[in-house]
Amino acid sequence: MRLFAIRVLASGVVLAVGASLAGDGAKPPSPPSGTTAKTVPERLDVPPPPFSEGIFPCSNCHAGMPVDRTRRNLEAMHSDIVLKHDETHRWCLDCHDANNRDFLHLASGERVPFEESYRVCGQCHGEKLRDWRAGVHGRRTGNWNGAKGYLLCANCHNPHQPRFHALAPKPAPMPPSRTMK
């Protein structure tokens, strides 16, 4: 009985030592210094927003205009914009700032420049924003261990109709043939 107890104790010690050794061994080697930014900065370098030709700054036209907050079909201008983005609940001024048209705004009323429009999108699509910051949502270019190219949400998704359109696929591979040249 005593022998058994000693055996159990001994194997416990061996296990503990083994575990601590394995723990050390399993630790991944630290990545080479300077390969990855440790923390993603609050503001990211992004390409300029994809404005239509000659549309920005919006204040060029809007500066002297009275603000009409009633929800309506736009007829005089911007009739090309078809909103298919939760259109039953949203309208222009939910994202665009009424008092300064060169900005967007958050639900809190905070003004956000178009270069940081991802903060506006992230109010509803929070998990996409989180993934995007981590480099997982959206297209990446550049270096896996250095400067990564980020895109604004609006560079890929039309903010007014964010769903992707279907694409024509590239040619299918040639089926294998039995004939040799």
């Binding site: 991944p28 080697p29 630290s30 990545p31 080479p32 390969t35 990855t36 930014a37 440790k38 993934d131 981590a134 480099g135 997982v136 949502h137 959206g138 297209r139 990446r140 270019t141 550049g142 270096n143 896996w144 261990n145 250095g146 890929c156 992707f164 279907a166 694409l167 024509a168 696929p169 590239k170 040619p171 299918a172 591979p173 040639m174 089926p175 040799m180 040249k181």
Partner: protein, 292 residues
């Protein structure tokens, strides 16, 4: 305590056999042409110089052949978002252009499989030859398949000449000068990732990518096997593979498995991840995931 000298100590005969076989194997490996990492550095440099001038003459532009080795502390892994891929095959053609794959006969390292949502990830019902006017098609999803860069690769084990092996950064590579074209590796690969040059490959000179790597996209000849190398000429220079950069829906992700801040680690820790043919215990470094 009883002792038995015969059973606990190797016999003289056993020792002689072991010594003789060790000597024989040493002689066999020491003779003959050197493999990539056994060759002295200056000899390798000279061989590469010779390659560069040969390829430059062949394609009428300045071709560089890199022999950049694995970066310490880096193990590459890849992740592909099945919920985003739309099957547009942009990756296939970016890969062909980047890695100098033969246009005729056609070789493509990436094969995009169209699968039915009702059936799930099922290769027996997959179709690589889908060709609708627009993708994605209703009720279908797409699984691009290339080399999975297995941690336990069946392909390298069967190579009789040691022409294919796993690099320290996880890339499974082929030395085209050592490949004898027996295609055992192609039979062993459960993913159909390896491709054989049945004919002398043809690539138009103006489309030839002159930025090459010894173990990657340097020109191949008739009779050798080739496959994805995670764009070794780009990834070892810190860049993303060509397929990652071209994907219009951002479904392709690449990074260092040993860096806890990398995209790849984020995906493995936060998303639903799967590997293809897990039951074969090939342990792929190529992960598929669902981001949504």
């Amino acid at each position: 305590m009883e002792t038995d000298g015969n059973s606990t100590h190797p016999s003289r005969r056993l020792f002689t056999i072991a010594a003789a076989s060790t000597a024989a194997s040493w002689i066999m490996t020491a003779c003959g042409p050197k493999r990539l990492y056994e060759a002295p550095k200056d000899r390798l440099r000279a061989a590469i110089k010779e390659m560069e001038s040969k390829y430059s003459k062949l394609h009428g532009k300045k071709v560089t052949v890199s022999d950049a080795g694995p970066i310490p502390g880096v193990e590459f892994a890849y992740a592909l978002d099945i919920s985003r891929c739309i099957g547009c095959r942009r990756c296939v053609y970016a890969c062909v252009a980047e890695n100098n794959q033969s246009r005729d006969p056609q070789i493509q390292w990436i094969r995009v499989m169209s699968m039915e949502k009702d059936k799930g990830v099922d290769f027996s019902h997959a179709n690589a030859y889908y060709n609708p006017a627009e993708v994605p098609q209703e009720g279908h999803f797409y699984v691009p398949v290339g080399c999975q860069h297995c941690e336990n690769p069946p392909c390298t084990k069967v190579c009789p000449t040691g022409a294919t092996w796993t690099e320290r950064d996880g890339i499974v590579v082929i030395d085209y000068d050592w490949c004898i074209g027996c295609r055992y590796c192609m039979a062993a690969c459960p993913y159909g990732a390896r491709h054989f040059n049945w004919e002398e490959p043809t690539i138009p000179d103006q489309e030839f990518n002159p930025n090459t790597h010894y173990l990657g996209n340097r020109p191949r000849t008739k009779g050798v096997v080739e496959k994805c190398t995670f764009c070794i000429q780009r990834s070892r220079a810190g860049r993303y593979p060509a397929c990652v950069e071209v994907c219009p829906v951002g479904a392709r992700k690449f990074g260092n498995l040993l860096d806890k801040d990398s995209e790849i680690r984020y995906i493995i820790e936060h998303k639903r991840v799967l590997v293809l043919k897990e039951e074969l215990n090939t342990v792929p470094r190529f992960f598929y995931f669902y981001a949504t």
